[in-house]
Symmetry: C2
Subunit: 317 residues, 2 copies
Amino acid sequence: MHAIENDEPAMYKLVESFFRSTFSTDNPLITEAVKRMLAAGGKRLRPRITLLAASACGGDPVEHLHLAAYMELIHVATLIHDDVVDNAQTRRGVNATAIDYGNRVSVLAGDYLFAWIFKNVTDGYPHPVPNILSATLADICDGEVLQLRGLGDLDLPLAAYVEIARKKTASLFAASAQCGAIMGGGSAEEIVALHAYGEAYGIAFQMNDDLLDMTADERSLGKPVGNDLTERKMTIPLVLALGNGNAYFRGQVARLYSGTAHDGIPGVIAGISEQGGFEGTRREIQAYVTRAKTALEPLRSGAAKEELAKLADALAG
Amino acid sequence: MHAIENDEPAMYKLVESFFRSTFSTDNPLITEAVKRMLAAGGKRLRPRITLLAASACGGDPVEHLHLAAYMELIHVATLIHDDVVDNAQTRRGVNATAIDYGNRVSVLAGDYLFAWIFKNVTDGYPHPVPNILSATLADICDGEVLQLRGLGDLDLPLAAYVEIARKKTASLFAASAQCGAIMGGGSAEEIVALHAYGEAYGIAFQMNDDLLDMTADERSLGKPVGNDLTERKMTIPLVLALGNGNAYFRGQVARLYSGTAHDGIPGVIAGISEQGGFEGTRREIQAYVTRAKTALEPLRSGAAKEELAKLADALAG
């Protein structure tokens, strides 16, 4: 992950210095909560994609820092609400906002942040930017509701998994790229291309996130390994492994997800690996990375286009 | 409260039949949760004020039912989140959404509703309507945060109470009237007048709500009498009663609010009454009702203007 940051310091630094120096909301308590979450880390991928998309269309990234920041802040607001929703104890290795400030303030802080973003966007940005951002938030919520309904559903089809990932994760990457393209002065073709890039990138990103949850170490994750399994989520390595049809493995997962075996996480992770879940996930990620890069083809050549391609490649590991 | 509904069936019935027949979001689970909350009751004051404001400016209420519905739905979404925030067990006498569906779905349902409203408003309404609605939501959250910070603060000044009421409650009434006026084709003067009406109405409404919490019966409230005292809220009857300077009464409140006396609610309510808190609240309500009606003066004479004045008078009891 650090490799990505070192490869591309320009946009990352722009975003970081904006958050450190310029950013504040009208509510000091909420500004503080947001700055605290931002200080805990994160790769700022969404705002970087906005700036790169604007740049790829001939715009000047520096002119679109506010818009880029809103993309990260929509993400931050959903994280703040996720912490309430999932009763999460930690987020990015530090205490969740909900633990430090209480659920009451977390719900309000997320709501306030959404409202503050929409207030600024409806004031300063032309149609359809405000509409894209609100439709994106609706998609994110819709995706989360679908995910909740699919918890523990061992028969969830791959297509349903992809639809959830598209809504809850990829929609914001797609909007980040699309709005960057619009404000950067992109042509209709460039705007469509960058939306398609963001969507494919976001699906690959979610798949990679699922993979890391089971294959990375706790320190780099900032949360326990196999946390998705604890939450009975149907992640892609699990969906693909179950698709292999091994009855013993299915029974193992069923026991864990029905709550009759609480110590089964390492065994299920080993089972996912044996059933080809990790290998299959890497293949799917590669397919979406290829799709993202293919989407970039209509764009003019240049550093921004190259960096977008590199960002996608970084997901394929 | 039923008297209000019987006095003015036209707008109430318009709104109700819209919610019953036409309303649905893109997410069936959330549509169901919202319809369930709507079916539990409510006077639909915000949408009625939108329709009356449009009508008072010469518009046809029937053309503004969607806009009116969004005002009620912003209110519903904040109630859904309040239930999470306050860990409320009941709302309007029925189970809170959070109890029936779980906190996870409640947070998502509220977020989705905000997003769905903004998606529609940014698509179908001209500037500054989308901006007014997002600024209003920011105000509501800001007011709730201020209220949380003021919990149990026995020295909260009346002006701080009014500022909280203005943000958390009156801002949405003000926006309901203002947006109705804008879409109804009102002049700049009419729009300003109706905004001022809505703001004064909303402050009086909150004060009346505070009063009813201590003086109405549990059945008509749909929640326990004195619930605000249980939550250590600084409502106006309490603020005014404390302002009277009686040391015994202050001690009584301090014991209840520090958690050392859990059975003190009836005594504190009696104390508020003795210290003139209810009488003072009725005077303040009357002052804001007068202010609301004065704000209506620039409007053309007619049924809508009269009904707006009647709505305000109903708060003064």
